[in-house]
């Protein structure tokens, strides 16, 4: 590794002058019961007017670090200093509200907006709690609308403040989040995989807003699993591994391969390969047939509009699209988790329109849900109990010996970082929770796998393993696979046939060789 490591601790920062430091985290440690050491004496400086990319494999402590800066977690040890005037002063951040009042704002992958309220009402909640822009508890919504109009014009982001949040696209919701950060005059913006899976065009629109914030002297921390994204937008890259900072480099002085080695080590980074497992089998019989499917979302609006789709045994069908275009609802309806308004779904020639989840699963269909915490796991229970609930369908007693063995195999093969099979799932990192779900569902699939964003929070090495495993299952075990993913790279890498989902309709089929720009155009048209 030849990249120049600038610093691993705040004390020896040298690239920028200490004058320019806006926030300094020093010797931050955090553990969770298990015990799981999430952060081990992490020191990191943020500079005014920079974009810092924070990278690391799953469970490396990235999210924990930004959650500490945002007041969601309290560190076990260490301190945070913030620039006040010309000096750095020790601060305590007790809650997200506290963080916001100090000018720190976080935008995560899932927009933290109240869907039933309008954009203005959501903004009003923040503005009134912080009492900024002259907004107080009794300020009329009319006045708030005026303020939002004026301020967003200044910032250059146009959003109808009267629009209900559930009517916004995913990109618009993230824009509202960034707008909110600008409104509260955020000095530090923390982006936890917030923009990673947007199409390039949409992402670049948001980059403009970020550059504006940076230009005003703000500091932005981007967490991403995509090294390419970090290379494109950041000034510096910091890499965490097993809760420790392993290096901080200037982006212009490093390469993707060097960063990869910092993240995974020499050995694992060599294993990262984007070579696609080719389909050897001829296309099998139709396994899943969907005819003229109409489905409603949680608010009773038609979100899937007349979808027709056939998935054959042994093939992987990928659905690309920006989040919120009906992919989740389509997949939930296929596995029986969501009521169908009209249309038919056949699995192995059995109409499963009203079969319910149990019968569909018994036909050999596995499901990786989009809403992981709602449908993917039971947080209080251990890994082995979660696996048992999904795999043991009959009998009074649970064969714990067998389930324990299966769990250990899954932990080993998918490299799930957990103290033991008995660890409650709630103590695992987000990526390791997803790995637990993905491992269980992929290895449990007999006839079909329906997956929504199966690698969304996984690091590069884990994501590639999962995609490879999905293709191997399809090719070797004649599995029919349907994947909906916000990550276009994933769809291109894993699919035999590609569809685009936009405003509830499917466009396609396309081949994986279709130019990326053409696909992205269909995603945002």
């Amino acid at each position: 590794m030849s990249s120049k490591v600038l610093s691993t601790s705040a004390n020896i920062s040298s690239a920028d002058s200490v004058e320019n430091v806006i926030l300094s985290a020093r010797n931050i440690s955090k553990s969770f019961p298990g015990p799981v050491i999430a952060l081990d004496r992490v020191s990191l400086d943020l500079y005014a007017g920079e974009i810092l990319a924070l990278l690391g494999e799953n469970g490396s402590g990235k999210s924990t670090f930004v959650k500490i800066l945002y007041g969601i977690y309290t560190p076990d040890h260490g301190e945070i200093l913030m620039k006040t005037g010309r000096v750095l002063e020790r601060v305590t951040i007790n809650s997200p509200a506290d963080a916001m009042s100090k000018g720190i704002l976080m935008v995560s992958q899932v927009p933290q907006l109240i869907s039933k309220l309008t954009v203005a009402e959501n903004m009003a909640l923040t503005l009134t709690s912080l009492r900024i822009h002259g907004v107080k508890g009794l300020t009329s919504i009319k006045k708030i609308l005026k303020i939002i109009g004026e301020e967003s014009e200044k910032i250059g982001i146009k959003i109808d403040p009267n629009e209900k949040v559930y009517n916004l696209t995913y990109t618009q919701k993230q824009l509202v989040e960034i707008l909110r950060a600008m409104f509260v005059n955020a000095k530090i913006l923390l982006l936890d995989e917030a923009l990673t899976y947007l199409p390039l065009l949409e992402r670049r629109k948001l980059y403009q807003a970020l550059l504006k914030l940076k230009g005003q002297g703000g500091s932005i921390v981007i967490i991403t699993h995509k090294i390419s994204e970090a290379m494109e937008i950041s000034n510096r890259i910091a890499v965490l591994r097993a809760g420790k900072i392993v290096g901080v480099v200037n982006t212009w002085e490093t390469t993707i391969d060097q960063v990869r080695v910092m993240m995974f080590g020499e050995e694992r980074s060599k294993q990262i390969s984007y070579v696609k497992v080719q389909t050897i089998n001829p296309r099998g019989e139709p396994r899943i047939i969907i005819r003229n499917l109409h489905v409603e979302d949680d608010y009773g609006r038609e979100i899937v509009r007349g979808v027709n789709l056939t998935i054959h045994a042994g093939e992987v069908v990928g659905i690309a699209g920006i989040s919120g275009n009906g992919q989740r609802e389509l997949l939930e309806s296929i596995v029986g988790l969501r009521k169908i308004k009209s249309g038919d779904i056949y699995v192995d020639n059995v109409n499963v329109k009203r079969s319910g989840v149990r019968n569909i699963r018994e036909l050999g269909v596995s499901f990786i849900p989009d809403r992981l915490l709602e449908h993917g796991i039971s947080p209080e229970e251990s890994i082995v109990e979660n696996i048992a609930a999904c795999t043991v369908r009959n009998g009074i007693n649970i064969p714990w010996g067998l389930i324990e063995e299966i769990s250990r195999e899954l932990i080993n093969s998918y490299q799930i970082i957990a103290p033991s099979t008995k660890t409650p799932v709630k103590y695992l990192s987000g990526g390791n929770i997803l790995k637990t779900i993905v491992a269980r569902e992929i290895e449990n699939a007999k006839k079909a796998l329906i997956a929504c964003n199966p690698t969304r929070t996984l690091d590069e090495a884990s994501a590639i393993y999962v995609r490879r495993r999905i293709r191997e299952k399809a090719v070797n075990e004649n599995l029919a696979v349907l994947i909906a993913s916000e990550d276009l790279d994933e769809v291109l890498m894993v699919s035999d046939i590609i569809y685009i989902m936009n405003t509830g309709r499917l466009y396609g089929p396309l081949t994986p060789e279709t130019p990326r720009e053409d696909i992205e155009k269909l995603m945002v048209m």
Partner: protein, 373 residues
């Protein structure tokens, strides 16, 4: 200055037992402090409380509360708040009265006692299960919260019993009292042991304990059986796992193809069945007859068991320990009343003080509180 609250990474091995013991001592100290404030002799009060903790007379309450604490634990683990233990307990006595006093009354229709006892237990179990099942139906299919439904069903059960005692179940050999007849001796489950009750105080206490254990042997066996069942249910049974998951994330059950409604029905029914079984055995072991205005004469096991279950923090290992504390405190309250040291508020105050210190120590076991200047 600020407080920092952190979840502990490792919890001391015997934390549960130590924290409970500490909270017990602290709670009693708080209680004594209050009694001093109102001008009572703390020594006299303390002696009465201490006696209750080592009194053999708590064995009956101890066994019943273990059984019912376990039964409620099953529903509480599923986040189904069955507070209808009282109703399920008493409604289960109806078939027992019917079978022993009417259908198989030895005066005119004798039947083998083991068969009748078995029938009483079986029908009591079904009755308790049915009573909880009603609340489960409301919860599962009408989405009506089980707390008010189970609570209301307690009163429905009381009034059904009152009606029966006032009418068809009214005793013929009750000397004008409003109650049922006494259940015939052949159907009773007590073993009477006569010991001399002589020797030093320890010997007398041991003899007394032996007498009590023999007398309530059926309740002892029941408590052990229900405890073992509950352990098996959560440790090995598939439904037990679903029950736990329902308490954590019902959406996951739905996604793996398990009917959430069936889990609600099963869990509540099993909980009610165990309470019903306890009620029917208690009828043959202790009650012997049902008096009119049952709500005024109940020992309140259905409510005390809620306390037992909560004190255990839904940890099965802790159920016997919390059942012991609650039964000792209940008896302490009675002893204080008998000794003229206060009314029923004495036991409530004592239980309240211990619950307060228990909540604080439990919190401190799981979390570390730091002060920073």
């Amino acid at each position: 200055m600020r407080f920092i609250v952190l979840r502990r990474k490792t919890i001391p091995r015997y934390h549960t037992w130590i924290s409970t013991a500490i909270s017990l001592i602290l709670g009693i100290l708080v209680y004594l402090f209050i009694t001093i404030l109102v001008g009572r002799s703390p020594l006299e009060v303390l002696v009465n409380i201490a006696r209750s903790f080592i009194s053999p007379s708590i064995v009956k309450d101890f066994f019943v509360l273990i059984a019912m604490g376990c039964a409620l634990l099953i529903s509480f683990k599923a986040a189904l708040w069955n507070i209808g233990g009282e109703g399920q307990f008493y409604i289960a006595t109806i078939p027992g009265i019917l079978l022993t006093l009417f259908i198989f009354n030895p005066r005119y229709n004798p039947a083998p006692a083991p068969l009748v006892i078995l029938l009483v237990a079986l029908t009591g179990t079904i009755m308790g299960a049915f009573w909880a099942f009603i609340a489960a139906l409301f919860r599962a299919y009408l989405k009506i919260d089980e707390v008010p439904v189970t609570l209301i069903l307690n009163y429905v059960a009381y009034y059904i019993l009152n009606y029966l005692i006032f009418g068809p179940f009214k005793g013929r050999y009750v000397y004008g009292y409003l109650r049922t007849d006494e259940i015939p001796e052949i159907y009773r489950l007590n073993v009477r042991v006569h010991l001399p009750m002589r020797g030093d105080p320890l010997q007398v206490a041991l003899q007394n304990l032996t007498v009590q254990l023999a007398y309530y042997i059926a309740l002892l066996i029941l408590a052990v059986l229900i405890y073992v069942f509950t352990w098996w249910f959560f440790k090995h049974c598939r439904i037990g796992l679903y029950t736990k998951i329902h308490g954590s994330n019902p959406g996951y059950l739905q996604a793996v193809g398990v009917s959430v409604n069936h889990v609600i029905l099963l869990t509540m029914t099993i909980s009610g069945a165990l309470i019903g079984l306890t009620g029917s055995i208690y009828l043959l072991s202790e009650l012997g007859r049902i008096p009119y205005e049952i709500e005024r004469q109940t020992a309140g096991y259905g409510y005390l068991a809620i306390l037992v279950s909560w004190l255990s923090l839904l940890d099965l290992k802790m159920i016997p320990f919390s059942a012991y504390i609650v039964s000792a405190l209940r008896n302490a309250g009675i002893a204080l009343q008998v000794a003229g040291l206060g009314g029923v508020e004495q036991s409530l105050l004592l239980i309240g003080a211990i619950l307060l210190t228990y909540s604080i120590t439990r919190f401190l076991v799981e979390y570390e509180v730091r002060f920073e200047w």
